[in-house]
């Protein structure tokens, strides 16, 4: 027997070749896919908060406008997280004995701030400003989703750069009248033509520009 390899060697040789190819190709494809999965983007991830705050209740049942607590959304870079004081504006009167609100009262009297867990987190080198978006007619729901249906706030938009760019390149479809900014249910007219015209004159009336210069967001 002179041959150094068995006939089966041929199969193994080719099989290993195929294996390498699939691993490489599949790996790249998998990576591409992975970053487009809700998991990688951290979507639909319920984030535990120190207090069981339920937006559904406050928005739907109590019909509190977003801007009552997030009062800074219209005039500042960040929408602002309400201070303990603000919670107690109401909860000094109602539910002021509720054990659920104990942490709030503790914070108020000890002066130790409540530490919430951030849900919508941009890299620190990305400068997002709420006021300009709100004033140009971008609704809360466009980025934050149906807060009014969330027991605990979860991220609904990837917040990846390509996602931001979609709208920055072509804002029109995402515009809405200013008085509908905080509406969770507003929809553009069903008739596409009407929607187009509405978008068009919102662009005009609010003087909306498409801004894709790097320094718009990175400084």
């Amino acid at each position: 027997m002179s041959a150094i390899f068995k006939p089966s060697a041929n199969f193994f040789a080719r099989f290993s070749l195929v294996l390498v190819a699939t691993v490489l190709g599949g790996g790249l494809l998998g990576l591409w896919g992975y970053f487009r999965t809700p998991y990688a983007q951290g979507l639909q991830e319920e984030i535990a908060q120190p207090i069981l705050f339920d937006h559904r209740h406050h928005v739907v049942d109590d019909l509190i406008d977003c801007r009552y607590c997030h009062f800074n959304a219209e005039r500042g870079a960040s929408a602002g997280i309400p201070s303990t004081e603000m919670c107690l504006n109401c909860h000094a009167q109602i539910w002021n004995k509720s054990p659920k609100l104990e942490p709030v009262r503790r914070s108020y009297f000890t002066g130790a701030p409540i530490e919430w867990n951030r849900v919508h987190q941009l890299p620190d080198f990305t400068y997002f400003n709420h006021s300009i978006h709100v004033s140009k007619g971008i609704g809360c729901v466009s980025c934050h989703g149906r807060i009014d249906q969330m027991p605990a706030v979860t991220k609904v938009a990837s917040l990846q750069m390509s996602w931001c760019l979609e709208c920055h390149r072509n804002p029109a479809p995402n515009l809405r009248p200013r008085d509908q900014i905080t509406s969770m249910t507003w929809q553009p007219p069903d008739d596409p033509a009407a929607a187009k015209t509405l978008a068009a004159d919102l662009m005009k009336t609010y003087d909306v520009h498409s801004r894709v210069s790097c320094t718009t967001c990175h400084r």
Binding site: I4, F5, N10, A13, L28, L31, W32, Y34, F35, R36, S158, Q160, M161, S162, L165
Partner: protein
């Protein structure tokens, strides 16, 4: 009855030395050329490998420190943003070129003398490019992002590389060059690996070489495709070589810095590369052929031819220097003039400039004389000097130009740090390490090709005999 042609009749001095001494049979050639692999491990080899390995340690020390602490561990500064990193890059990539040139271009020109040295040259190319390819990555401030953004994958940002930048061209050029050189080399190796597989006695060797031989059986149906494929690969490697160093030269030519902004760069860089590359081949081949007794395959004629090539390329390089200075004077641009007539010859780094001129222009002039071309010792010294000179040339181009640019207020000098030296010495050692391993485990001369050549020559001789 005529007297036999005796030694009394002097041998024709102009008759070229043979490319293969004697009339060895294929079997003889086989044993001779594969001796380094099947013979016992030489002590010297072990020692050299040990030293090279230690030097390679320095390389990884240097890189680790750099990546952990930052580019600041080097001497680079404002205004000298590039220094040893890019010098070494250009120098190594240049050395690589001779390999492809010898194996590809000489093949196309049917230069038979190439056969005995092309394997060396190709190996040298690959190892040199491996050194070079390291720098475009590690010279960046944040290599981990460099990888990611040059190949913007998985591309969730929607931002792409800038194809106007010569650095991107570099990335494509160098990676292509490395891939093609590797394939070219391996393709050439396959028949020899098969030979090894069939010559080897030890089962382990037979298996090892058997795997890499991929099942080559010298079938003529294979040889048909193989030859044409090999030829085309050589064909495309030739413009590839030229393109790669042209693109490397664009890194500088495309900028507006005095001393970089020079139209003659592409041809002058390519010539310089070939020049330095051939020098490196000599530096490696001369000891190797001595150690492994390849004198009758790598004959003095090979060395002489290489010396001739070096002479020519050195003249081209010299012309490049001349033109640079002429244009600097002729265009009347004060910034150019200052650099070429003040900074380079008399400035802070004048010594390096003069070393460059001496090694790259003067030393090769000795090759006008056959004595110098055939004096192996001198060839070796000269080749090393040329290597030094080419390194100095890159220093002159990169560091000196950067250190004296437009605004005198921002002028500044550069001094290498220990990390710079570690990395430079490290690449030299790593290169030697790879090369030593190559000599021991891979046929360092293309056995099949030598046999073919041998066959042809004996064939010719036979015919010559008929006509006589």
């Amino acid at each position: 009855m005529t007297p036999p042609a005796t030694a009394a009749v002097p041998a024709d001095p102009l008759a070229p030395m043979p490319l293969i001494a004697g009339h060895p049979s294929d079997a003889q050639l086989n044993t001779e050329l594969l001796a380094p692999i099947f013979g016992p491990t030489p002590q010297a080899w072990k020692m050299m490998v040990g030293m090279a390995a230690m030097g390679t340690g320095l390389l990884f020390l240097g890189l680790t420190v750099t990546i952990a602490r930052g580019i600041g561990m080097w001497g680079n500064n404002q205004p000298v943003g590039w220094a040893y990193d890019i010098i070494n890059f250009v120098w190594w990539i240049g050395i690589g070129h001779a390999g492809t040139l010898i194996s590809a271009i000489l093949l196309l020109f049917q230069q038979k003398w190439r056969t005995s040295i092309n394997r060396f040259a190709e190996a040298m190319t690959i190892f040199a490019v491996m050194q070079a390819a390291m720098f475009p990555l590690v010279h960046t401030g944040r290599p981990w992002f460099a990888i990611y953004w040059l190949f913007p994958y998985p591309s969730t940002m929607g931002v792409w590389p800038n194809f106007k930048s010569p650095l991107i061209w570099d990335v494509f050029a160098v990676s292509t060059y490395f891939t093609i050189s590797l394939l070219f080399w391996y393709l050439g190796l396959i028949p020899d690996l098969a030979t090894l597989r069939d010559t080897a006695k030890k089962k382990s060797q037979r298996i090892a070489y058997g795997i890499f031989a991929l099942g080559w059986k010298g079938s003529s149906r294979h040889w048909q495709h193989y030859r044409i494929g090999y030829l085309i690969l050589a064909g495309i490697s030739t413009p590839l070589v030229l393109s790669v160093h042209s693109i490397v030269s664009f890194d500088f030519a495309v900028s507006l810095l005095p001393g970089w902004h020079t139209t003659i760069f592409p041809p002058y860089f390519v010539a310089g590369a070939v020049f330095g590359g051939f020098a490196m081949v000599l530096t490696l081949v001369i000891p190797a052929r001595k150690a492994f007794r390849f004198e009758n395959v790598i004959t003095n004629r090979h060395l002489e031819n290489m010396a001739k090539v070096m002479l020519v390329t050195s003249m081209i390089v010299g012309y490049g220097y001349l033109m640079e200075n002429f244009i600097a004077w002729y265009c009347g641009n004060p910034y150019e003039a200052y650099l070429f007539f003040k900074t380079r010859p008399f400035g802070h780094y004048a010594a390096i400039y003069w070393i460059m001129l001496a090694c790259n222009v003067l030393v090769p002039q000795t090759f006008w004389w056959k004595k110098a071309r055939t004096n192996v010792a001198w060839l070796w010294v000269a080749s090393i000097l040329v290597g030094l000179g080419m390194w100095a040339e890159r220093f002159v181009i990169i560091v000196i130009s950067l250190s004296r640019d437009f605004l005198p207020s921002s002028w500044g000098n550069y001094a290498p740090t220990w990390v710079d030296w570690c990395i430079f010495v490290g690449t030299l050692s790593f290169f030697s390490l790879l090369f030593l391993l190559f000599l021991r485990f891979v046929p360092s001369v293309a056995v099949a090709e030598v046999k073919e050549l041998n066959h042809e020559m004996q064939h010719e001789k036979a015919h010559a005999g008929e006509h006589a």
